[in-house]
């Protein structure tokens, strides 16, 4: 087995704090991201996801200790940006630029950009050299953006809602390309998205953020081992409640679904049918009352 502890962490965050006017976007946020992982940062709107990403990219001031690839994004942003890439839902490519110009421009400003590689990534797409961003669909713009970013071969890739507004074909293709042409054990990806089902099998690790705090930080293996959902039989309700489920919801026809964290699987199996909850179920259960 590969030992993550022997490898250095790509990100170490301790006690991050960021206040906007009268709201805390980051509230003592602490976490580590080891190298070679695909980490999902998942949280409701306004939980602090984008603020955390912006902090890592050195785009905002904040309090606390933060190192990304060993550098402080506040003071060493320029060096850091040689090894970090970022794709956000908000388009940053100018509308007038042609595919050809975008590639030439990136080659001019980024020391690690490989133009030949970028053209190779664009093969099989409808992106031709003379096409302008303004003539592209949303999916094509993301394709171009992804090709540019993958051709930089950065060590750390940050994706903020990268597939928002794309149709399912483009969304699938996006992650397929990422896994096939970019990711390896030297690389690290951090992704935020609301489309949890779509990426849950791609992730190696997951973090849930709520009110600026990390409320769950685990490998997907641990999530699978820790959380069990039980379809509790009516005659077992009291016994099940005594085992302190973290969530309970009643279904029609008298069945009740309970979610357990770290309980003995053999005992849970006695209560009724068990299954591993999806990340989406887990998210809903953990975030109950967020908008209340």
């Amino acid at each position: 087995m590969m030992s993550a502890s022997l490898k250095s962490d790509v990100v170490t965050a301790r006690g991050l704090r960021k206040a906007y006017k009268n709201k805390l976007a980051l509230d003592g946020t602490s976490f580590d991201i080891p190298v070679g992982r695909i980490v999902g940062l998942i949280g409701p709107n306004g939980a602090g996801k984008t603020t955390a990403l912006k902090a890592m990219l050195g785009l905002i001031p904040f309090e606390g200790d933060l190192k990304v690839l060993g550098k402080d994004p506040r003071t060493e942003r320029d060096e850091l940006m040689n090894d970090v890439c970022f794709i956000a839902d908000v388009a940053v490519l100018p509308r007038w630029i042609k595919v050809k110009q975008a590639i030439e421009f990136t080659a001019g400003v980024h020391p690690r950009f490989d133009a030949a590689k970028c053209w190779r990534f664009l093969k099989g797409t409808q992106l031709t050299p003379e096409l302008r961003v303004r003539e592209m669909s949303k999916g094509m713009i993301v394709q171009l953006h992804l090709a540019l970013v993958m051709a930089i071969d950065a060590k750390f890739l940050v994706l903020d809602e990268p597939t928002l507004g794309l149709d399912i074909l483009y969304r699938k293709q996006f992650y397929q390309r990422l896994l096939e042409d970019y990711f390896d054990e030297e690389k690290t990806i951090l992704v935020t998205t609301h489309q949890v089902e779509e990426i849950e099998h791609i992730l190696t690790d997951v973090m849930f953020i709520r009110d600026g705090k990390i409320v769950l930080n685990a490998t997907m293996d641990d999530v699978g081992a820790r959380y069990v959902e039980v379809l509790v039989n009516a005659d077992q309700l009291d016994a099940a409640r005594a085992m302190k489920p973290i969530d309970e919801r009643a279904l029609p026809f008298g069945k009740t679904v309970m979610l357990f964290d770290g309980s003995d699987p053999a005992r849970l199996a006695e209560l009724g049918e068990t299954r591993n909850p999806g990340l989406a179920d887990l998210f809903v259960a953990t975030m109950k009352g967020t908008y209340a």
Binding site: I38, K172, Y175, Q176, R177, L179, E180, F183, D184, E185, E198, H201, I202, L203, T204, M220, D221, G224, R275, N276, P277, G278
Partner: protein, 123 residues
């Protein structure tokens, strides 16, 4: 892309392993055949590569596939035989007793069930 549904019951790496095992049993994969690379499988099925590596590692531990340096994973010569004997053992130990119990509970006669001239055995 091949449509695939992962069930909630078992870890994905195990389900992936089972798929390869089924392909070996059905003869879709034969001794000497190469398995697709971890990267290919990860991209195609949208799984993280660690999950895929883990499934491959278990297949290698069971001596069903072997790693050839720099080339990838290949089905071993003895894979089919090894698998057949372990699957048979599993059936006889785990599954058959349950089937037999059910046959008896329903008052059926095992010999009649297997007789092709008998009405239950007809296809």
């Amino acid at each position: 892309m091949a449509a695939i549904e992962w069930s909630d019951g078992a870890p994905i790496y195990r389900q992936l392993k089972e798929r390869v095992v089924a392909m070996l049993l059905d003869g879709v994969l034969k001794p000497g055949d190469a398995l697709p690379s971890v990267r290919q499988v990860a991209a195609e099925y949208q799984l993280n590569p660690i999950t895929v590596s883990r499934a491959y590692q278990e297949l290698a531990d069971d001596q069903l596939v072997e790693k050839r340096r720099g080339l990838g994973m290949y089905v071993t010569d003895g894979a089919a035989t090894r698998l057949m004997s372990s699957e048979r053992e599993h059936f006889l130990r785990e599954e058959w007793p349950l089937v037999l119990e059910r046959i008896q509970r329903l008052g059926l006669e095992p010999s009649e069930l297997l007789d092709s001239k008998n009405k239950w055995g007809k296809k």
